[in-house]
């Protein structure tokens, strides 16, 4: 499995810093260019496809705007790991196929570490430090949705099945 570079953030990263309201009328590429700039102006400029974002407590708390998730995906982020998540952000992330894993050991991961993430097993291996973190397991119905690529492809399958039965 591929190792991913870590961007480390603190507690309470909210949806307003992920997708600022003043850019919400704009297309996602423009919102993404301002993602997290209020807390780390380098992030949107220097993040690379395949990177992983690690937060602390309450990552994604605040608004229901899923541009908070979409902006991270637009920038190529493949997973978000945190101590805990804002409930709506968590659902939005999985609906978009962005892996979101909660772990009580998250403080052990540092900026620029390389990590291997296994969503199905619910584990994160920090290759830089050799630490192995256990994450909360995703329930089966969500793993099935993620395997389909997110909620919309999942629904496409469901409607295609219904259409075939009709």
């Amino acid at each position: 499995m591929t190792a991913h570079r870590v961007w480390r953030f603190g507690d309470n990263i909210d949806t307003d810093v992920l997708a600022p309201g003043i850019y919400m009328k704009k297309p996602i590429a423009e919102i993404a260019a301002h993602c997290l700039e209020a807390v780390e102006p380098r992030f949107a400029k220097e993040v690379r496809p395949g990177d992983v974002v690690v937060g602390g407590r309450g990552f994604g708390m605040g608004s229901s705007r899923e541009q908070a998730v979409e902006a991270l995906l637009q920038l190529g982020v493949v997973a978000v790991l945190a101590l805990s998540f804002g409930g709506i952000f968590y659902r939005n992330a999985l609906n978009y196929g962005l892996l979101a894993l909660a772990s009580s050991d998250i403080h052990r991961i540092r900026q620029d570490d390389l990590v291997v993430v296994d969503g199905v097993a619910g584990t994160v291996i920090d290759e830089t430090t050799g630490e192995r973190l256990t994450c909360e397991k995703l329930p089966p119905h969500l793993l099935a949705m993620i395997a389909d690529g997110g909620l919309v492809p999942h629904l496409e399958k469901r409607f295609a099945r219904q259409g075939a039965q009709a």
Binding site: K25, V69, S84, I88
Partner: protein
């Protein structure tokens, strides 16, 4: 089986006799609420891709409130797309520029106890004040609801907030919530159900109860709940709707909550949240000397009629400080009309307030009235995240409408109680 109110509401929607916290269930949605920012603009491409229409147009309410009024061609295009979609999908309940969704739906009689409602906005727990289950989701999840009429959920635990005693003059539901944000933290609700009980809650009007449930979002809860009573029934009847059987929608007395927190309302002072989190709340006396440039009375949780009355009770016969701009955005057009009729708007404007359109506006950084670099604002809204109301270096404090009004008069963050006492004497 002994059940909490949340469990009873979810069991009914899931078609089960009973459910228990931790169960993952699929619920049938009685009502879906969407707005111009996260609604048709985002759901239409998904429904088009799926090749389906909405599952039941009568069970959908659409509100334009975020980009209101449109202020450039981009926001005008979003509004037009919303109107066109409503016509195309034949959605009968559409409130175009009539105010903020969380306030418009109850005042137009869409809520009744026992319902299961999904809202495309994070402040959707507001509806829980009516003894119904309501929570916020993102636009893709809402598109799924619009296509299927269903949504999954993990049955939450109940966190009980027991509030006893009478709030002092100049202290409001907003102060209770800022106090709780500081005490429990913004993830203290653990995406569970927060239920408010006790004599303080029973004594509050529906519009103040809505503030309690609205800010369950700031506690990180999935929803806020208040069991329906005579106050609920009166409000719903006045809104022209039938409240139905409220006896069915009470939690069992034997049901054990996961957590219990007590609030002594009598001892509560006005609270102020310092930048950049509602959890940075403390009694107003602890804030110190903070000069302000702006005072803002607006939002779903800070500009209902009761909130405008609070502000007017402080501002009556006074002028705001010369270096402060006070902006007021009544939460709905109906509230603006009521406030015009009872003289509240005149009191506010005579004190120096500038009136804005009814909508989410500056609270979420969408509309007019944003803040520049380094400006200091006190707002009656629910959130003061960095950059939310404009520039990232702007400093936003939160307080009740009483505290916002008193601060506008003083030109610095101020305790409203001395000003109210002067009026009383």
């Amino acid at each position: 089986m002994v059940q909490t109110l949340a469990e009873k509401l979810i069991a009914r929607a899931a078609g089960h006799h009973s459910v228990a916290s931790g169960d993952v269930v699929t619920c049938h949605v009685d009502l879906a609420m969407i707005h111009d920012s996260g609604g048709p603009r985002r759901a239409k491409p998904i429904l088009d891709r799926l090749g389906v229409k909405v599952w039941d147009p009568k069970k959908i309410v659409v509100v334009t409130d975020h980009f209101v009024p449109a202020y450039d061609t981009e926001t005008a295009t979003i509004q037009k797309l919303t109107r066109d979609w409503v016509a195309d999908q034949r959605v009968p309940n559409f409130y175009d520029m009539q105010g903020i969704c969380h306030v418009v739906l109850p005042e137009r009689g869409h809520f009744k106890p026992g319902m299961f409602v999904v809202g495309g906005d994070s402040h959707s727990p507001t509806g829980g004040a009516f003894g119904l289950y309501m929570f916020g989701v993102g636009a893709t999840e809402m598109a799924g609801v619009l296509a299927t009429g269903e949504i999954w959920l993990r049955v939450p635990e109940t966190i009980l907030i027991e509030c006893e005693g009478q709030l002092s003059p100049g202290v409001a539901a907003k102060d209770v919530m800022l106090h709780l944000c500081a005490r429990l933290g913004m993830d203290g609700g653990r995406y569970q159900a927060v239920q408010y009980v006790g004599g303080t809650v029973t004594a509050l009007p529906m519009t103040e109860r809505m503030t309690l449930c609205n800010m369950a979002a700031e506690l990180g809860a999935q929803t806020g709940l208040i069991a329906p009573d005579a106050t609920t029934v009166d409000y719903i009847r006045a809104a022209g709707a039938d409240p139905g059987d409220i006896a069915r929608w009470q939690g069992d007395a034997e049901a054990v909550p996961a957590e219990r927190h007590r609030v002594d309302a009598t001892a509560l002072a006005p609270q102020v949240a310092a930048p950049h989190s509602p959890a940075n709340s403390a009694p107003v006396a602890d804030v110190g000397a903070v000069q302000i440039d702006r005072a803002y009375i607006g939002a779903c949780t800070g500009a209902k009629l009761v909130d405008l009355h609070m502000a007017a009770s402080v501002l009556k016969g006074r002028r705001i400080a010369s270096n402060v701009r006070l902006l007021v955005a009544p939460a709905s057009t109906r509230i603006a009309a009521q406030a015009a009729a009872d003289g509240t708007l005149a009191t506010l404007t005579e004190a120096g307030a500038i009136l804005l359109a009814s909508g989410c506006g500056a609270c979420a950084g969408y509309g007019s009235g944003l803040l520049s670099e380094g400006e200091v604002c006190i707002a009656s809204t629910a959130r003061n995240f960095k950059g939310r109301m404009g520039a990232t270096t702007a400093q936003v404090y939160l307080g009740s409408p009483y505290t916002v009004a008193a601060s506008a008069v003083a030109g610095r963050i101020a305790d409203p109680r001395p000003l109210l006492a002067e009026h009383a004497s």
